[in-house]
Subunit: 400 residues, 2 copies
């Protein structure tokens, strides 16, 4: 009731930049009196602060309001295959401190990841010198399926994790509230709030890297399905009976447009000769750069765009989104060079009607946005709850 309206106002102030009370009234269709009331409360609590004023032809100037960037802090962590990255942000999402821990082993034990995340949490808080009580929460992004927000059971093929209760494990080591989510979803969230997805309510953020995934955004919030494993776009069949995918099935999109799949296809077309380059990324760039000189490379890249276009078209036809945002490291490399061709390929496979309504863009935030997206999880909760639920400044991270 009242909380709901607080939430609406706070969200409006946060999402639509500095606003005056007057504009707030219009945006939220609440009466000026209510706005004044609730804003007064939020000001008293310190969540919101005044930020200059704007002349308004002739009359009293409007006082602008914004969410106080230092009202609280949020932490975002990314648990990837090769590293754990922890970042501290203020509420304006400015990075204040970063801690990175490389992971050398191929299939790291969950305990190691937990240790690094907690260590990083301690480190970034210590570096900036804020009190733990000021940290509203920590979001943790992990490359796998995350079941339910309760214990956050994680299934991650690439990490070798099966039913790891990551949320519970982390919560046991700190008093700071923990939220765990899929990395694709958090990156999607970051792009929707601060990147190429701004303003859209129905969108898909497609991530093409070594693997392929997507975050589905419906009605402004990300869609998770029954048990939060929605968005596995990479393992939709696009060539029935086609190439074997690492998921075990045949003809998955990932086997054709994921970087690994592209390099394998190149090697196959190149008479068994792999693409030169130290790591996967170098090799992928090598293929892209040799398009002008190598017919094999040209064909492989052209096909990749075709497959990707068909994959996008499937999203367009099924979801009728207003925007599709392409990200992921190899997706961006492709998109930077071939966006027009990609759009054309989508048009070839999509229905005219929904195709005319979708715009296809590139991610604007870098790869590190995964952690930032994770950090938006506690922010989202702050907005949803319409302000802070006070928390005793407790334990940052228990020694393990």
């Amino acid at each position: 009731m009242r909380r709901s309206n607080r939430s609406v106002i706070l969200t409006s102030i946060y999402r639509d930049g500095p606003l005056s009370r007057y504009e707030l009234g219009h945006q939220t269709s609440l009466s000026a009196a209510s706005v004044s009331n609730l804003v007064g409360e939020l000001l008293d609590e310190g969540v919101v602060e005044e930020a200059g004023s704007v002349e308004s032809d002739g009359g009293r100037p409007r006082v602008l309001l914004r969410v106080a960037p230092t009202f609280g802090y949020v932490v975002g962590a990314e648990v990837g295959e090769t590293r754990v990255r922890v970042e501290l942000f203020d509420l304006a999402m400015k990075v204040l401190a970063t801690a990175v821990y490389p992971i050398e082993t191929a299939k790291p034990a969950p305990e190691l990841a937990v240790k690094y995340v907690l260590q990083g949490l301690n480190a970034v808080i210590g570096e900036v010198g804020i009190s733990p009580g000021q940290v509203l929460g920590m979001g943790v992004a992990v490359a796998g399926v995350v079941e339910g927000p309760a214990d956050a059971i994680v299934h991650a093929q690439t990490l070798g994790w099966d039913a790891v209760p990551l949320g519970a494990m982390l919560a046991a080591g700190t008093d700071i509230p923990i939220q765990v989510d899929n990395g694709a979803n958090t990156l999607g969230q970051a792009e929707m709030w601060f990147g190429a997805g701004r303003g859209a309510t129905d969108a898909v953020v497609a991530l093409v890297g070594s693997g392929v995934g997507a975050a589905l955004v419906t009605g402004g919030s990300s869609y998770r399905g029954t048990r939060s494993s929605a968005g596995e776009w990479g393992h939709t069949t696009i060539v029935y009976g086609g190439r074997k995918c690492r998921c075990g099935a045949e003809g998955c999109l990932e086997a054709y447009v994921g970087a690994e799949g592209v390099l394998e296809r190149f090697q196959l077309a190149n008479g068994g000769q792999p693409a030169p380059g130290g790591d996967e990324e170098a090799a992928f760039i090598g293929v892209l750069d040799s398009v002008g000189t190598s017919e094999v490379a040209a064909k492989v890249v052209e096909d990749t765009i075709g497959y990707l276009g068909a994959g996008f078209a499937n999203l367009v036809n099924l979801f009728n989104p207003e925007r599709i945002v392409l990200g992921g490291w190899s997706g961006l490399l492709l998109g930077e060079r071939y966006l027009p061709q990609l759009r054309e390929a989508v048009g070839k496979h999509a229905l005219r009607q929904p195709y005319a309504q979708v715009s296809i863009e590139l991610c604007e935030l870098g790869r590190d946005a995964v952690a930032m997206g994770a950090a938006t999880l506690p922010v989202l909760r702050l907005l949803r709850e319409g302000g802070a639920t006070p928390r005793e400044p407790g334990l940052v991270a228990r020694a393990r």
Copy 2:
């Protein structure tokens, strides 16, 4: 505010069968006092009525409440390629009258469809002898993309309609409120409320007939996308570079599992010899029945199940639904015979995690449920508005 609570209570009563005030309090998490208040209002207005009582061990018996079936009536219309079907229901969704008008021409003019729908509306109301003012509204299902609920611009390839403002055209001929929606969506709605989808909140109702489509249900209500053309599952690419589809693209699912596509594939595999049988349906049944004797038929059907399984798997991976319901005339014919094989085929293409969480079922309502689903549109509005918005008994259908 109050209306919202009325809506919650009314919806609960409608969806969860006869309920006592006591149970309502629990379900809606409203106080007993509020429930009593609002139920009193609803009883006074006649939307809700008492329906017997149930002993409650020892104490005062609970009085059951239900939505009064004769509080109002709703009409559902189906505009198909070969017929216009109009049905009148009471609020318990019992059919009270039916009117069917065959369409002989291949691409009927929109005006003809409008004429039949209005004529049917008149006919069913006249047959039962109720006052037009008692009709809460008419839902119209049409085989095509319906844009926006305002004017309801219809794009229907199969009917040859391009940007037909069907909603506005119908509204001009009657004072009864009109709602237009896609036929796949309305059938999906019917199955979700009264058929195989009962109880599920995230589901997909897949329709396989001559063409192929799907209704996506997310969080209990059907998902429409930016401009209500979501759910075009039939035109997702499943065989990259494969068979030409009537939509113009290549390798669409519809070209493989739609009845038309199946028959074409049979003819191709049969050395150009088409399947015997007068119309499409007879021919399709013919193919199914000859599986035991004809190797060609066996292969075609087996492949069809495979393609359909992959198409289902795509839905499973992307949406993580809790249920998939297969309907449509040819889909049902296939499903009745090969549901276990289909489930197995889905398992081959889907990820283990989401596959384990989905159940695959057959539609329980017949093909005529399209009109019934359309009739749920006004019911849905009644529930959303928490009761009746009184309307002067006006014009049923103006002469044209």
